[in-house]
Symmetry: D2
Subunit: 344 residues, 4 copies
């Protein structure tokens, strides 16, 4: 079985493992207070083009989402998210478990529009007894989205402006950020995020690391005592240097960008092949997740040799599925798949 | 200003105040362990036609909802509710504050259908990685609903069956239960609720009491240690007998039913008057809340003399509003309103 | 059985019931936004000698404690309390249920010393990895304490100073405040609390009301959006005016002070009688709770006619018990008790 | 600086890294559903000598503690722990953050006695209004303890019996389990834990792994839906196989036991050297943490070349400190330290 069902099927980029091996018997302080984390923080700050940001390395994405959002909100506040947002539907109610509602707005493509934020916010403040409603206290977006789509820089700026005007912070989930920045239509880089978001993270788990996400906090209001939040939620890795080592590897020579490009190249090859075969797509994805709509017999036939994810029924005879590439996807496997698609 | 904006604008039915006055200097144990609560529990059990139920008297509806639902759910579970449900939109995220998601299903009239429950439940269990999703763990309905509509007994039985087949408990919010039972189309009584719900409550606050709701737990699984839940959530009234006294008054001679009827009679008079005048309604309510759709100039004119609630914009020139009657609504005030409607 | 086991055994002072009766059919807005609450807020502000405070009326003490403390703390903070504090041991872990640790310090008499606050705080900030510990984020004291003792004004000022120097807010639980202010050794009044606490409350439930506590917030940092906290925790009374009416009654002509005095007079009579008989006391209480240490046979004999609370075993043959008086305690009952004590 | 300040200063045992390298490009399912986790679960079951246990691999100890304890308790319950327990003082109130009180009992050596459990439990159930108190719902112990001491098998059996008689589950924190089993006075092995605990974990982070703890659930009541808990608390590692690979390495040829022995050998050498020099110890530790009491000038002198942890002031001139060894501690470093101790 050749696997295209997710972007965390393999281990780590070899450069990371090599560095881990080389530094293995170093003695360092724990909990992210070691020289590797220190250096990785400097490297990430350089990507941000800002020195006045706080960087925390955390093992997984659900942890980052939960901790950062809980830290941003007051007890009676909720966070606005697309109904397809990862926090809305794929994290077992972890935001609610910290006491907060996820206020969803409908989205076909995974993106939310500035008008939707404005509408939720303005509707709330137009109410007489507004203390009977959950107050919108922050905004969550992902880039690229769970549907593989990306925001343009103009859209990001407009969302940021909408939030700032209403004094609610903007948090961006960058679990697949590398793939978003490598997308053919990409107009956003890390500097932009550091300028327009109150907090965001650079995903490692899905982009070449064994695990790890680099959380960047730009808004001073959320910097104070942040390590308490991390520890309380069980997310402070004892051997924190493992996170530092990985982000050093990813950002010391642009490895993050290089390996992200591989995922996009392979995804585009798959996309083009399905397209040439005449298949439509559920979402217009320009990143490493592709959602072709397949006749069920085609889906079943491909499923004999390749693994991919069921996404949703389109009609009685057609199903949308997800093919995922990553930093690790080999030319050989993609060629094999494309060959087989052509033969369908 | 003559008030029709809610059903808690006055104090209590005089019989309640009189009993409170008469028993004022009695010395009793606190926390609901007094003879008045004891007797009120017996009276409610009689209404239920069951002796094997636990009764707890609690000050307000949001408290009952929060405590009972949190007691029903495991940490990773959520509760299914209509998107118009009181817990979904009018309690400041109190369910989420206890760690649980409210899983909403769309509803135009405030009711949910058995198929919607089945769909949410079955979709969840059809997932591969279902532990990434909030597990549906209970169902919340209100009768009458927030939109003034009522369930039929057949509908209640079908919902109950759907829940039982899936082993998830059914909780019914009866904040306005008296008005639901007095509705012209009513086919449900307290005995039915005691038979088909795992827990429900009989609203006092909106039906003649100063405050207080009688929670009935029929499912043994949720009876154990329930007083701990009440105390922990700050809902154990020190002078608990005040709750007992009120429910004694409401149920010793059928007062609850009698005063509920008044609200319905008055509401029907208002409804008919608007109807005869040719106005449509946002919901087909048969209870004490009526939602006529008014031309904006009519709305403004009525607003000079009567208070009512803004509900929603229907179009540029029409607005849906809410008129509420209660046990306390006087014939005089309703006649005055109807007179003025006719003159419009 | 003549009851001395608690100070919430009777209903309300007749003046309160009378006002409730008189205003019963008034139509008012709900949720504490009515003219009675408005006037009661003005009266309480006058007691505080400050106009720049926020007043909220809430049904019970556990609610006030939970809501105010949760509003004061950041997610990783706890509140310092005497180990005998009400929040530490008598509220079913309600503070923890909002996510916060109660950081206890030992206390024999129910009071905490400024040095204890300083020690907890300074110890925390002296740690290297302090983010592994719960950060002390507020201080809770009660006046009078759960042991019937009182703080002097000098002690209050010193505690307040200790807190301010460390930038942590001080919250005072005044569930029995009236009795504290009527104590023979009292040096603190409401003006002092309004000057030296960041928030405190004036207890009604135990001092003449049916229920209700008046929360006073003096620190601007905790005023914003406080009604959301109240509603979310299920503590916003629909017919909020009932709270307003009660505090109007208690403070329009000094009723609160007058009826508090009754409890103290009666408690002192009981105290003196036990003392003259040669009994010792567990705590040096000057308020309405008295804790005599009785030989077990004496305890049993008195228990045949009077109810009081078991407190703790002192030795094999002696037990400390609690006798409680209140605004409602009659001269007749106290005389009967004292007579019987003398005859022992 | 030669480091003895903790047992997580180095990376992983080379055998683990090697296996990680060798399996790096394998494609596997995520979230612990891969063949490596499957095999590691089998290996751990073999250690338990039971097949009817559930095994979950989780990144860190605070996560395991928080998730397992929250899963064991009802909302109104707390967990009994020594006041020196890791959950009581070193996890930033993470248990409280899930809504539960840590009910502490005093302990000098880090252990709790069966009588202490019985006393807390029995005291609770002897109360009249027990619903005003946090109900004890589980017991937490660690082996070895935070003070380096160990339970004997007889003690474990007695604690287990005390819990079973009261129907409260026993959870054992084995963050340093390997070192406890390698202690010269050890009488407990994994089979015993699987017999006498309702849940426990085998620590990897401090015993040779990069990270990872193996949670063993023996009580059926806590097995259902446990993966939901893990995911909701953000503790489900995407590349879960990394945990499987590590525990495969640790348990396929007894590596866990072998490397644990190294820590104990080195610790005993340090202990003996301090002893021979005439120093006393704060706790009678037989494991990898040693707590000598040093004159302050000696402490400062040693501190120039070696890192160790400050523990507590013993008197004006003496301080207790902690020296930690681990699987990675080299003979060379220990010889150097002992040499320098002898020269003091």
């Amino acid at each position: 079985m050749i696997r295209f069902e997710c972007d965390y099927g393999e281990g780590a980029h070899p450069a990371i493992l090599e560095k881990m091996l080389k530094t293995n018997m170093e003695q360092t302080a724990g909990y992210g207070l070691d020289p590797h984390c220190e250096r990785a923080r400097e490297l990430v700050k350089k990507e941000c083009n800002r020195d006045d940001v706080d960087i925390h390395f955390i093992v997984g994405g659900t942890q980052v989402n939960t901790i950062m959002i809980a830290a941003m909100l007051k007890p009676y506040q909720g966070i606005i998210s697309a109904d397809s947002g990862h926090i809305a539907g794929h994290e077992t109610g972890s935001i609610e478990a910290t006491g907060h509602k996820v206020i969803t707005v409908p989205s076909k493509d995974g993106k939310i529009k500035p008008e939707q934020i404005a509408q939720v916010y303005d509707y709330h403040y137009a109410q007489g007894n507004r203390e009977h409603l959950t107050q919108p206290g922050a905004v969550y977006i992902s880039h690229p989205t769970e549907n593989g789509t990306t925001y343009t820089k103009a859209e990001l700026i407009e969302i940021s402006k909408t939030c700032k005007e209403r004094n609610i912070p903007l948090f961006l989930d960058g679990a697949r950020l590398g793939y978003g920045m490598a997308a053919p239509d990409s107009t956003i880089d890390i500097k932009d995020l550091a300028q327009y978001c109150d907090a965001f993270y650079i995903g490692g788990t899905k982009v070449g690391a064994l695990f790890g996400e680099a959380l960047v906090i730009t808004n001073d209001a959320f910097k104070t005592d942040f390590r308490y939040h991390i520890k309380q939620r069980g997310a402070m890795l004892a051997k924190g240097r493992l996170l530092g080592i990985q982000f050093e590897s990813l950002f010391e020579d642009g490895l993050y960008y290089k390996i992200s490009q591989n995922a996009i190249d392979k995804a585009m090859q798959i996309k083009d092949t399905f397209k040439q075969k005449g298949y439509n797509f559920l979402y217009e994805s320009t990143t490493n997740q592709q959602f072709p709509i397949l006749p069920n017999d085609v889906m079943n036939k491909l499923g004999e040799k390749y693994s991919f994810s069921y996404w949703e029924d389109v009609d009685a005879n057609h199903t949308a599925v997800r093919f995922c590439t990553s930093w690790a996807t080999s030319q050989e496997n993609v060629d094999s798949l494309c060959e087989d698609i052509k033969k369908l």
